[in-house]
Amino acid sequence: MGPDEIIHQSLRLRIMATLNALKKDEQVEFIRLKALLKATDGNLGAHISTLETAGYITVAKDFVDKKPRTRVAMTPAGRRAFESHVGYLRGLIDGLPPEG
């Protein structure tokens, strides 16, 4: 397996690492993710959209007390892709030849 070009971009990598640390099906609010990653609305939104298009994350939007709320969660495909990418990175550091 080679590197995952979608995941490897710095902010997307940190988004995926954060979501991967959550339990299965656990969601994180956009506003909290923004604070955790010290990202701007526009930048984070664009990268979330890229990950959603790839099928790596899901985005749920609703209203709480008439205020919009956006929550993000990792899909099983996203978790597999992330773990595969991390395995590739570790292989590089350990000097292992890429598989496949």
Binding site: G2, R14, A17, K24, L89
Partner: protein
């Protein structure tokens, strides 16, 4: 796409940092309601000690209520996150709380305390040190809270006279409640 070993090391560093951050925030979020509960218990029991000093049951009742509330919190917080096929660790939290409470009571069996002030101070110092210990594993905010609790307890023990119980209720109980609210906002 060409990734060098340096790129890979940097990427793994970013992953570890992001994971550490979410684990720290999760630990704060989990600790916050317990701090608020025990802060309220502390305030209530110490207010009772100050204004109804002959009512001996204030702390036992407070500890019983706090324990029940902690168990309820543990159940409600672990239930929605439990994954199918995985074992719940809830009993470990209950057992840990049980061990702490048992330690306090057995401590008083072997270490003579001659006043309510000494008993109060043992609670303050013990819980302050526990928060420092938890903070070493999770993040600096719990360490700060624990150090503040120990310092406030020592100030109260040496500098506050007949209003000690009220002081501990307001300052130490209040510190836990405010600390819990602070951690919730992180």
């Amino acid at each position: 796409m060409n990734i060098t070993r340096d790129d890979a090391a940097q990427a793994l560093g970013e992953i570890n940092a992001a994971r550490g951050r979410i684990e720290e925030i999760t630990a704060y979020a989990n600790a916050a309601p317990y701090l608020i509960v025990w802060g309220l218990v502390w305030m209530g029991a110490d207010f009772a000690n100050q204004f109804a000093p002959t009512w001996w049951a204030a702390w036992p009742v407070g500890i019983a209520l706090g324990t029940v509330a902690s168990i309820a919190l543990g159940v409600s917080m672990s239930r929605p996150k439990a994954e199918p096929g995985t074992k719940s660790d809830s009993w470990r939290y209950f057992a840990t709380w049980g061990a702490i409470i048992a330690f306090i009571f057995t401590l008083f069996l072997v270490v003579p305390v001659t006043s309510n002030k000494e008993t109060h101070s043992v609670f303050g110092l013990l819980f302050g040190c526990l928060y420092v210990g938890m903070g070493i594993w999770t993040g600096w905010r719990l360490i700060a809270l624990g150090v503040a609790l120990v310092a406030l307890t020592l100030v109260g023990f040496y500098a506050i006279g007949p209003w000690y119980a009220l002081y501990m209720g307001v300052v130490s109980g209040g510190a836990l409640v405010l600390g819990g609210l602070w951690l919730r906002r992180v």
